[in-house]
Amino acid sequence: MSDLTLDVQGLSTHFMTRAGVVKAVDDISFSVARGRVLGLVGESGSGKSVTGFSVIGLVDAPGRIASGKILFQGRDLTKLDERELRDLRGNRIAMIFQDPMMTLNPVLRIDTQMIETVLAHDNVSREQARTRARDALGMVGIPSPEERLMSYPHQFSGGMRQRVAIAIALLHRPDLIIADEPTTALDVTIQAQILAEVQKLAREVGTALIWITHDLSVIAGLADDIAVMYAGRIVETGRVEEVLERPLHPYTHGLIGSVPSRNARGSRLRQIPGMTPSLLNLGEGCAFRTRCERATAVCERDPQDTHPVAGRTLRCFHPQLEVMA
């Protein structure tokens, strides 16, 4: 229990909008141990990105963390003030975004940005900072790092920029990295390269990694554990092999079933009917009930977390206990 790098308990993040309160994240709990990779999977509107932002404390108004605890190595991040959070950000907790230009300043050279990051948390000389920056670039597989330090972000391709962003995240050897869809916008071959680098680094450095994505196939190859989110709630967690082979929640079941490779060639894909409901209008009960073929009257009440199998968490009244076809 004590080597849990991150332990989130009952986190809720709400956004006060003109149209009402949007419960982007609604009472979720998960944990990541040292050196493990957690895949946080969900579609648009599921709240997975907001979860990442909540952990690192980057939720802007009109959003705020409404309740819950975020225990990072035992410290509750929700109780820290901005100065203490700034100490941790970029230092012990780092984040990688989908668009590397959210990390990189287009008018500054790479070395300027990286040295600045190093000096923000460590009291070293500029020369030492520069050396660390160069080593970090080498670590993510950028050729001729010494020359590349002198470049501007626009002189890199998309994949390279993302690597630089990852290098910046690694500068302080953080204990936790939150990656929000970093390879979604990249080509398959480049994505493979970056996944390879990240996997290697996580193993070597022992960083805990939360990989946020909608792509189940990436999680299948990369993650140790998986948490599936729907409409702001975590509906299922467990080890990756178990969840993908024996999904218990009907949504997970439907999601896996709709992947083309899981269907006979040329046949109709198994699809989940309907659409994700608007977060303004979820109402009481299970958020998935309007699209679930197994829904009954009992689903009008909020399901709580259950543990039908050891090591698995599930939020459903009608788990799918048969094996996947």
Binding site: Q271, P273, M275, P277, S278, L280, N281, G283, T290
Partner: protein
Amino acid sequence: MSEAALQAAPTKQEKAGPPKQETPFARFVSEYCESPVAVASFIVVVLIVSIALLAPWISPQNPYDLAQLDIMDGRLEPGSPSLTGMTFWLGTDDQGRDMLSGIMYGLRISLGVGVGSAVIACIIGTALGLIAAFAGGKVDGALMRLVDLQLSFPAILVALMILAFLGKGVMNVMLALVIVEWARFARTARSAALVEARREYMEAAKCLALPQWRLVFRHMLPNCMPPIIVIFTILVARSITLEATLSFLGLGVPITEPSLGLLIANGYQYMLSGKYWISFYPGIALLVTIMAINLVGDQMRDVLNPRLKR
């Protein structure tokens, strides 16, 4: 299969009925009204325009009807009564004209010239900008170099040169303002057109083999309007200022149709004699008008900014 497909039909709120239709205009209005300052400015603008339009009926006196003026009423303080029994709320100028009426009528000229020239410049500039964007090549190059040339001269200088050439008069002032302002519209329209022309909905329209004129006027132009509208409000304010400057310098509208600028000029010589009201109140009126228009334009720019859109 069709059952499931129909289930995919849009239901923004599952429980309630279909949501009420929200046109882009309705959305614009609701977003605009988020700023109380902007709403207040808009009300002020409406008020000013109403005053200008209704001036002949609501002003206490027609300041250009020489029969109504009495030189014995000249340079009276604000609040002084006249011999005929009416009160000069804002005082009189040296001819005995009621300042309040003068301001109301002056607003007519100022707004008329300002808005009128902006509208004409908008039409001409937008048309040329669209032509440049579509024609490309030499036509585009030539037009844009002309625009660059135009914009590199200070506006007041160009206006002064034109008016020195043509002489005074409301029409001449409008002509000068149009010549000064079309370039900004042309450039804005061209940039917007270039951006919109590459968007996928334009490609889709091309794919549907729609005629060229439909592509430009039905598809592209409505989407180019936001930046043009913003420029329009800014340039209305600018026109009014420019016209006031020209009239102040004596090169603008004639004395028989004084705008606010001319009123300010008339009273300038009395500023240091303590008869401040002859310049001051027209000045305030000008200030309030321009500020209100600028604030409206600011909020419109923020609301219409595509980067802030979902």
